[in-house]
């Protein structure tokens, strides 16, 4: 058994809301019901619950996964919450596959439900922040990405207009995505991006992700079981890697480099693909520059050549490298435990992208970014390669 012996057999997703009008458990229930309806699987067949640890609403409850299993009436042999921040969604796929391979469960419900706008119980205080950044007024992720952006600019130069091009492309995709947050479904131009107000110079408002509420879910089982169940249009994970605290035992690292370099090599290697083979790219986007840094880290272009690569390519759904075709988190809203880009990739590979359907559905590369470390870039990196059955 291996990662690629497993299948994502269905996906479900709510519309992204500025603020949820219903409890997070209701959203969880909606995802369960939708996945059962789509697969015809009986609820009692589910014996794995795999949840993202990136939750604001559940953050203060150390029994969040068990509480959720209880609320939904699920009896499971594998009950897991994945704590790699914004890598959790992709990490859930890998862990569910590992659990299925090992025999801990056969049918896994992957749940990404969060209402961190409605009810946020996040507490960062037992971390470096309270002594080493809060006293200086460094504003969380925007401040950290301000430092990161300026460091990149000092090393390589940076044409912010090309970051604007990425922002506009993602926004255009959100305009075609009825599940994107309605507040964000307004057209923007590169000038709008450049003129949006500074938050943590050089980070502008339109660089930043907006927190929002919502849920998504996946169902996974072995490919063998999927065939037995008569489930078609399955999506297969064929390569995965993650790296937490990249160069954490070193000082003065090059902050323009991240664990994605390692993840890319490992995940693509397992998939037997080169980066030029990637048909659509679904990078984690909390800030626009993170997308450009990933283009470099995964080897779409060389370090320092991200701006030129953006200038030379069309990232629209019908362009030469479709990117975050649902709008990304920045234009759809940071909801559902940051599973948006993963679920969009699954949708596209199933050919269910509607108006924004990509032509080439041979594969998709999904990534994660999780947590902000002290004066570097990010704490966790992940990469997941998906193909249709």
């Amino acid at each position: 058994m291996a990662l690629r012996d497993n299948a994502i057999v269905a996906y479900a997703e709510t519309k992204v809301m500025e603020k949820s009008d219903r409890d997070v458990f209701v959203l969880a229930g909606e995802m369960l019901e939708a996945l059962l309806d789509k697969t015809g699987i009986d609820k009692n067949e589910i014996d794995g619950l795999v949840m993202a640890g990136l939750t604001g609403t559940g953050a203060a409850n150390p029994f969040w996964a068990q509480t959720t299993a209880d609320v939904l009436g699920l009896e499971v042999g594998f009950c897991e919450q994945v704590h790699t921040g914004g890598c959790s969604a992709a990490g859930c796929v890998a862990r569910a596959a590992a659990a299925i391979d090992y025999g801990m469960c056969e049918v896994a419900f992957l749940l990404f439900a969060d209402t961190h706008v409605l009810e946020d119980r996040t507490d960062h205080s037992h971390s470096y922040r309270r002594e080493w950044t809060d006293p200086y007024g460094l504003m969380g992720p925007p401040g950290a990405f301000g430092l990161l952006s300026r460091a990149y600019e000092a090393k390589y130069g940076l044409d912010y207009g090309m970051l604007g091009k990425l922002a506009v492309t993602q926004r255009n995709h959100a305009l075609m995505n009825e599940n994107a947050c309605e507040k964000l479904r307004v057209p923007i131009t590169i000038d709008d991006y450049m003129n949006s107000r500074m938050i943590a110079d050089p980070i502008r408002l339109l660089d930043c992700v907006m927190r929002a509420d919502g849920a998504a879910g996946l169902m996974m089982m072995s490919r063998k079981r999927a065939r037995e169940e008569g489930l078609t249009k399955c999506i297969i994970p064929i390569g995965y890697a993650e790296r937490t605290n990249f160069k954490g035992g070193e000082n003065l690292v090059d902050v323009t480099k991240s664990g994605h370099e390692i993840c890319g090599r490992k995940a693509l290697g397992a998939a037997g693909l080169g980066i030029k083979d990637i048909a659509s790219f679904h990078p984690y986007d909390d800030f626009i520059i993170a997308i450009m840094l990933q283009l470099e880290a995964f080897g779409f272009c060389k370090p320092g050549e991200g701006v030129q690569f953006i200038r030379d390519h069309d990232f629209s759904y019908d362009g030469d490298l479709p990117l975050n075709t649902g709008g990304g988190q920045i234009s759809a809203g940071q909801a559902a435990c940051s599973s948006h880009n993963l679920v969009e990739a699954v949708r596209q590979l199933r050919g269910e992208g509607g108006k924004r359907q990509v032509k080439d559905t041979r594969n998709a590369l999904v990534t994660g970014i999780g947590w902000i470390n002290y004066g570097r870039n990010w704490g966790s990196s992940a990469a997941l390669v998906l193909v249709p059955e």
Partner: protein, 145 residues
């Protein structure tokens, strides 16, 4: 004309320390910058940890006073402050590479936004806190060669 940078000195700050950081804060009472040094590898580390990040051992850590001089590695200008800093925007937060080879994030004061450059030489400014400790900030080292 852009608004001048605020020195943020009027912001009330109460810092809750980790117990393993206490030697750092004790040093600041005398305006001394005391950071962790790994005896086994001869390298400094910041922020303070319970172990050497190079060897994983607690016994390899000692504390050494350093100059606090360095160069700006990167900086950001906060136009939207954290709640305690509202009303002081814009203000500068810099990541400074100290001459002993670690980065230290702190406010950069006594300078204009136009003056700040990556690579600019800086020196400490010690801002007194109510508990008798001082908060390390940086200011341009205009006398540096």
């Amino acid at each position: 004309m852009a608004k001048a940078l605020d020195d943020t000195l009027r912001v009330k700050r109460t810092v809750k320390h980790f117990d393993f950081s206490e030697p750092y804060w004790e040093g600041t009472r005398q305006k001394k910058l005391v950071i962790q040094y790994c005896k086994a590898t001869g390298k400094y580390q910041h922020f303070p940890r319970p172990v050497s990040i190079f060897t994983g051992k607690r016994r390899d850590i000692e504390w050494r006073e350093v100059s606090g001089k360095g160069v700006v590695f990167s900086y950001t200008i906060a136009h939207r402050g954290t709640p305690a800093f509202r009303g002081t925007e814009p203000y500068a937060v810099a990541s400074v590479t100290l001459d002993v080879g670690v980065n230290f994030i702190a406010n950069l004061i006594n300078c204009t936004a136009e003056e700040i450059r990556v690579g600019m030489k800086v020196k400490p400014h010690w801002h007194p806190l109510e508990d008798g400790t001082h908060l390390l900030m940086f200011q341009p080292d205009r006398d540096a060669k």
